[in-house]
Amino acid sequence: MLITQLKEKESIEALVNGKAFIINCFGCKEVHFPEKEAKEFQEELKAAGKVTEILTMDYICNPKNLELHLQNYKAEIEAADVVLVFSCGVGVQTVADFCADKKVFAACDTYELPGYQGVTPQLFDCDQCGMCFLNGTGGICPLTACSKSLVNGQCGGAKNGMCEVDPEMECGWERIQKRLEKLGRIDILKNAPVQIRDYSTDDATKEAKQSE
């Protein structure tokens, strides 16, 4: 199971440069979703004229399902500068892959909640790290796409773009590099602060459970 929590409001606001197309995912029943806070925050953005559309749907982690829904919103997505996704890490990655030439940002962090793991189509993976890195990596999860779960860039082991650990797997950081280059945003990687993981996120899980 997993829990999603809103990132700091200021940090989300800093991402929305211009107008946002917002996607909420209410798919898995196992997922605790900060529905109330998300709604309040989205209302604020809307009142400030920073939203082209808010789409609430189920199972955005299913690429076919996502495509079907997004088809009806081509104009709104086109008009938006960023796509802001309120979902678990798998959902954000699915949207980022589908809208590969758009800035797609995660508005939530995904934490682990011990117990039954929700059934999600496993095209993308999320380790529920509690400090989602997707906004600095073009929407590709460095923890699951890189064999060493590196958060500061590529190791020296990639050969022909493939991972040193598994030559059948494309190097995750090579994918991130290409995605950011395509978006013209390689600067965010160059200028990102040194990232260090916090493994004490079980405290945050406890807090989120209590706040429910």
């Binding site: 958060v151 020296g156 040193e164």
Partner: protein, 293 residues
């Protein structure tokens, strides 16, 4: 002595690399160092290289230092979490070992303990940052260090002939921002390709040591071409080694090739770093042929 001081003096810094044995007898290693490595400015000691368990890098650095050499302590993030890494950095500083080379490290599965837990709590970038923090008298937990903080010459690696060279350059920039003060490169066999990389990397203004391996034979080259990341050996070099097997076996051809690469790249680097792979004995001849002795 910090290698950064040497770079500052404008010296062309030559380092060589030794791999600790799988055991506790290092007499042979020290004898070889005394015989062949007195002409180099510093000696890297590898850290369980290729994820193969060996005698520890820090201990060997200390012995080398006691024997009058200037060690560079290689540290990977594969086997230790941040507490152990910070603690070993303090240990190194206490011994007066002040050159540290930060590496992410090969994956555990590639070595002789494939079932070991891969740690990677930090990585090459965050380890450099951590050194900087300790220098300011702080640790990653936010606590103050007691007394005089340590200081390090903070080194890192880069792979100029990687087929992901753009990603490597981004990482290099991140390492510099995290505190890297000098770089050693993966082994270079293709001077032209290296120089192209240097034209892009020189804007960072951080000294780069050209990585050198003395090639032993065609088989070794083919193996490295197929299996080692960031290595690209042009066909011409492999042909040269094939031409006269006896000369190659004696290390004559390989030394000539390595010396030529150094001469070709000398104006595009601030030093060389020689990975010996057991051929320490070739170093004096190599330095002489390259015009560095």
């Amino acid at each position: 002595m910090k290698v950064t001081e040497l770079f500052k003096e404008g010296k062309f810094v030559v380092s060589a690399e030794v791999g600790p044995p799988k055991g506790i007898n290092i007499d042979k290693m020290i004898e070889e160092a005394k015989e062949y490595l007195t002409g180099v400015d510093a000696i890297n000691v590898t850290d369980n290289q290729s994820s193969v368990m060996r005698l520890g890098s820090l201990a060997v650095c200390k012995v080398l230092k006691d024997n009058g050499f200037n060690p560079i302590f290689q540290m990977t993030c594969r086997d230790r979490n941040r507490i152990a890494l910070e603690s070993d950095l303090l240990s190194a500083a206490m011994f007066g070992i002040d050159n540290v080379l930060s590496l992410t490290g090969d994956y555990t599965k590639l070595g002789d303990h494939p079932g070991a837990k891969p740690v990677f709590d930090l990585d090459s970038v965050s380890l450099l940052y951590t050194m900087g923090l300790l220098e300011q008298g702080k640790d990653l937990g936010g606590q103050d260090l007691d007394g005089e903080p340590p200081t390090f010459a903070k080194g890192a690696v880069v792979s100029p002939c990687s087929d992901s060279v753009d990603a490597q350059l981004v990482k290099m920039e991140r390492k510099i921002k995290a505190g890297a003060q000098f770089f050693q490169t993966q082994a270079i066999f293709d001077s032209e390709r290296y120089i192209k990389f240097y034209e892009r990397a020189k804007e960072f203004g951080v000294p780069i040591q050209l990585g050198i391996i003395v090639p032993k034979n065609a088989g070794m080259c083919n193996f490295m071409n197929n299996n080692v990341a960031g290595i690209s050996i042009p066909a011409g070099i492999i042909e040269e080694l094939k031409a006269d097997k006896e000369r190659a076996k004696a290390g004559i051809t390989g030394t000539e090739i390595a010396a030529r690469i150094i001469r070709e790249c000398k104006d595009y680097c601030q030093g060389v770093h020689i990975m010996t792979l057991g051929w320490e004995s070739k170093i004096p001849g190599l330095l002489e042929q390259a015009g560095l002795a």
